[in-house]
């Protein structure tokens, strides 16, 4: 595995608390599973980044090697690998995810954006 790619990934997952490696961008996911994951994190209310690796095969291979996980998307929280929504959904249901995120961010999620009241 190229060391520079490994270092790049290590830097990315260390610099942002929630990183999703996926296909497409946050605004325009190009895969149903990436979309599902973006929607999942939108619902949680914490900031997150999506890194598009659809066209970057060497980086996808490096990621798979590093995680023993063959598929995209791949979610990292505080630099630790958490798989995908197959893992995160049960963690959310058990309350484990809430605890993990509160620890990562040092508190509860910001309140959801207030809805606009029309007079």
């Amino acid at each position: 595995m190229p060391e520079d790619l490994k270092e790049e990934i290590a830097r990315e997952v260390a610099s942002t608390r929630i990183v999703i490696y996926g296909k497409g961008t946050k605004a325009a996911p190009r895969c149903g599973f990436t979309l599902e994951t973006v929607e999942f994190f939108n619902g949680l209310g914490y900031p997150f980044e999506v890194i598009d690796v659809l066209e970057n095969l060497p980086k996808r291979e490096a990621l798979s090697e590093m995680t023993d996980w063959p598929t995209l998307p791949k979610v990292f929280i505080n630099g630790k690998f958490y798989g995908d929504t197959d893992i995160l959904q049960p963690m959310a249901a058990s309350g484990e995810l809430k605890a993990t995120l509160e620890e990562a961010f040092g508190g509860a999620a910001p309140e959801p954006k207030a809805t606009i009241n029309l007079r």
Binding site: D68, W69, P70, T71, F81, G83, D86, I87, P90, M91
Partner: protein, 78 residues
């Protein structure tokens, strides 16, 4: 493409006690629902359980025999 027996064999090679259920989701023999029951999952987190199975399938995923797996792991108690 891979048939059910070969796919089961890859998993049992790694996890000899595993009971494996396979469902071909698309009829194309490369997108599968896989359920694995094993004592090897005891004491492991869900992600570690999935990683155990993915390690067994690494070669088949890398060379394209398997495209997609929806994985369920069950801890066998005895």
């Amino acid at each position: 493409m891979i048939d059910d027996n070969a796919l089961t064999g890859l998993i049992v090679d790694r996890l000899p006690d595993a009971e494996v259920r396979i469902h071909d989701r698309t009829g194309t023999m490369d997108h599968f629902n896989v359920t694995v029951r094993s004592q090897a999952f005891k004491g492991k987190t869900l992600i570690e359980q999935h990683q155990l199975v993915y390690r067994a399938l690494k070669g088949a995923l890398a060379d394209g025999r398997v495209h997609a797996v929806e994985l369920t792991t069950i801890i066998a108690e005895s």
